[in-house]
Structure formats: structure tokens, C-alpha cells
Subunit: 158 residues, 2 copies
């Protein structure tokens, strides 16, 4: 089953992330126009921007840039998963796109906390390791990502 | 020293990627307005979108979303490094943001081919593992990324 945070992102701290818990972060869809517009700016490969060439290519039509899926997912993480307390993320440990995203797909983001550990050197924060999974309307996993995030501790003295 | 491709992206194949070679992919800069605009859409954390809160935060001012640096880098890879032959990328093995990107920073992208191996199961392609490094005008590394890309083989029978 899925967990629900007891605190809003504006009052969310390290203590609120439960190892092993999975949180649903929301859903989104992308239209073909949005796919082409995003990719024209940032990832203008033919399978993302050219309807005719994409139709003749290995996917038989336009597919979304993997980065488009990433940034739309990121928006949901900021709205529904990450705390709004202003620490940066050091990076991502693995990112995979096992299936293509096609126009009109309805994508759902879920986040499982794999590890949440207090920092040894900075007592005001902890490091949260998460497995993100993005599924389409058929239940196919279209993206997985393993981000790390620094999160402030509510009670550093505890 | 840096290598230069002998073929344009439209006629670039697996055989053109030399293990150990480093290719300069180009440079870009981001303005504060662009940083805020991108992050407002995709990563609306205060350090990326709110000048006043960012000034009081750990970075002392607006910094770019790490994803903004990724997608601007991606654009240069499509223009100058990847072949235009329409195979998808399976994913990224590691992504790090060791230093913040600030408005006006001039960022240079370089790509080192770590491994280039023919596919055992699909003779028409190979898998290229790359280390991308993005450096600012002071020589600080602001991003590293390890993408994998499938690339078509020019002479599958060879």
C-alpha cells in the first residue's frame, strides 16, 4: 500500500521520510505538441521532433525525450514529495528509460524511500535515497530514477 | 588534447567514436531570467525561482536547476556529439552536480568516450558509454554525467 505524508512540503523534514515507504506523487500527460516543443528546445532528435521521420523510425511515431519525462516528473516531486526547505540535491545514481513515452500517455509517479540517514558531518540534515518509478496507463514502467536529496532535520538535537 | 570528429552528426556511426578520446561539444550561458523561467515550469524550488528567498538561502542567490544544466547540455550533445541516426538511449549511469550554476556562468561541455562496444545480440549497433563534464568559466566542474547511447554501425558485416 501507499503512504501519505502527514505534513505539507512547507513543513516537511527528514523525520517525515520513512524507509521502505512508497508515496504516490501524482500523474501527468504530454501531448504531441508539447513533446515536439520541448524537444525542439532541448533534445531535437528526429524521433522527438519530426513526425514524418519518426513514423518511419524504430518507434513508428513521435516519442517524448527522456528528459521531458524527467522534468515533468521533477515538477511533481517538488509539489508532492520534496520538502520546501531549500537544500540542493547532490545527484542521481541511475536513470533508465525502459519503454518509450508516446503522446497522450498518462504517467503516474511513485517514490519509494530506499534509505534515509542522518549526515555524520552536518547534524542539521540527512540524505534521502529514493527510487522513483514512472508508469504509464498500462502499468509499464517508462522511467526509473534514483535521486539523492539532502533534507533538513526537524530536531537536530534529537 | 581534444579530438575532432571527421564526420558530421548526419553521417556519424559507431566506428567514429574512439575509446579514450575527448570531444569538446560547445559552450552556453544561462541568464537569471532563463533560470527562473525554466524552473518555474519544471523545478520551482525557491533557490531557482525566488530572488529574495534565494538571497537568504545557502547559495546567497539564484542558482540554476540541475535539470536546466542537463537539458542545455543535451542540446549541445545532439548538435555536436550524438549521431543523427535515430536510436534511443537506455539511460544514464550517474549524474552529479558538485558546484552550483549561477546566472551568467559560461559553461563548456566535453565528452570522453569511456567504452564503445558492439552489441552481441544486435549486429547493427554498438553501445557507447560516455563521461560528460561541464565546466564553468573558472574551470570548476559543475556537472558530470555518464550516459549510454546506442549508435548504428556503419559496416555491420565488418
Amino acid at each position: 500500500m501507499f503512504e501519505v505524508f502527514s505534513t505539507p512540503p512547507s513543513d516537511r523534514f527528514f523525520e517525515d521520510y520513512t524507509e521502505g515507504a512508497t508515496y504516490v506523487c501524482g500523474s501527468f500527460t504530454v501531448t504531441e505538441d508539447e513533446i515536439i516543443q520541448f524537444a525542439s528546445l532541448y533534445d531535437p532528435q528526429m524521433m522527438h521532433v519530426d513526425r514524418d521521420l519518426a513514423a518511419k523510425g524504430p518507434f513508428g511515431g513521435i516519442i517524448a525525450s527522456g528528459w521531458h519525462t524527467v522534468v515533468r516528473t521533477m515538477r511533481l516531486l517538488v509539489e508532492n514529495f520534496l520538502p520546501h526547505n531549500g537544500l540542493a540535491a547532490p545527484g542521481i545514481d541511475e536513470l533508465r528509460w525502459p519503454q518509450p513515452v508516446r503522446p497522450g500517455d498518462i504517467l503516474t509517479v511513485q517514490a519509494t524511500v530506499h534509505q534515509a540517514r542522518r549526515s555524520r558531518t552536518k547534524p542539521d540534515r540527512g540524505l534521502v535515497h529514493t527510487l522513483l518509478e514512472v508508469l504509464n496507463q498500462n502499468g509499464d514502467v517508462v522511467m526509473t530514477m534514483k535521486p539523492m536529496n539532502f533534507v533538513r532535520v526537524r530536531n537536530p538535537a534529537a
